[in-house]
């Protein structure tokens, strides 16, 4: 596969969220505000890229028995590096991301890509695959967050769009709405892909 194909594949065709049903936990918690979703998405992209790259570099040396532990170690290390970096240089953003650090480590997407791709491909390709998967995930997050923030708070990235006349949909602020929105998104994408196949 060419690099472009790898990227498009992990971004769209094999999208981590709607196709592989991975990374759901964080998709539920973070998506009530666009800003948080963006930070989370970027954090995941970074971690995915570097983790997949590193794991791919070591792939021929990792003993099969303990490969999960090794992957987890590498992933956790990068996440902590991101966290420490943010705490020191971008403290406000760190405060926003703080609670989610643990969620990134156990984000099944990272493990999933590591197992499915990074263990069997070259480092650069793995990094590209990781970035694609991360962006696909971030994309889904932003779409859901757009609706949740708009209907739940009436804002867009913190800027008031809908005025006082709008009765806030509290359910959009609470996590269950993410379930419904995600299901709707999956339904929508399915129909789009079905239509594309028919044409």
């Amino acid at each position: 596969m060419t690099k472009k194909q790898i990227f498009i594949n992990s971004l769209y065709h094999e999208n981590a969220v709607w196709r592989q049903i991975l990374g759901i936990c964080s998709a539920l918690a973070v998506t009530n505000q666009l800003m948080n979703s963006l930070v989370m998405g970027l954090g995941v992209v970074f971690t995915l890229a570097f983790s997949c790259f590193t794991i791919s570099l070591l792939r021929n040396y990792i003993p099969a028995r303990i490969r999960m532990m090794v992957q987890v170690l590498i992933i956790a290390s990068y996440v902590i590096i991101v966290d420490l970096f943010l705490k020191a240089f971008l403290p406000d953003i760190s405060k926003a991301l703080g609670p989610y650090v643990g969620l990134i480590i156990t984000n099944c997407i990272i493990m999933g890509r590591a197992e499915a791709f990074a263990m069997k491909n070259t480092p650069l390709n793995s990094a590209i695959d990781g970035i694609g998967a991360g962006l696909g995930y971030a994309f889904v997050l932003l779409i859901i967050a757009f609706f949740r923030e708009l209907f739940g708070f009436g804002t867009f990235f913190g800027f008031q769009i809908l005025g006082q006349w709008w009765t806030k949909w509290s359910i959009m602020v609470m996590a269950p709405s993410a379930f419904f929105m995600l299901a709707l998104l999956m339904w929508f994408v399915y129909n789009v892909q079905l239509k594309n196949k028919k044409d």
């Binding site: 049903i21 759901i24 170690l73 902590i80």
Partner: protein
Amino acid sequence: MELNVFILFMAAIFTSNILLTNFLGMCSYLSVSRQIESSLGLGFAVFFVMTCTTALNYFVYYFVLVPLDIVYLQYIIFIIVIAAFVQLTEMVIERLSPVLYYSLGIFLPLITVNCAILGVSLFMVIRNYSFIQSVAFGAGSGIGWLLAILALAGIRQKVNDTFVPAGLRGAGLSLIITGIMALGFIGFSGIAVIQ
């Protein structure tokens, strides 16, 4: 932390259900809940690992991380403890009961990345639970997770016979069902404060 251990245990199962209230442990929950048998198997495995690793991580945190002032490594250390424990459990089961090993098969590695397990250990630290409280919390959360996945599996089995639009089959429907269950569980909030 003056908190009745039994109340903590019951709250962890029902009113502060790790999956339906804190939304942790979703991935395997959604994919495995297709059949009741596998849900039962995974649920028990999660319960076992959750309880034991919470206890283990308690010791690791208070007797290793804190004295050595390396608390910032807690994410790594906790997850390595969990991964190592799961690995060990897998090896022990494989040796003791090949039948059990084959039926649990792929679930054990899946548990390592279950965010609920890491989440429970992190909560235990943040909420300053004592050892007994931590074990009660871990066990309760595990049972709560088990009940949640069983509930979903049961509902999915019933729903299988009805009409579901093609785009929603599988994950889409599970998400909606879980969303409704989560809404119901919000009604529990405030009944028992376990913090």
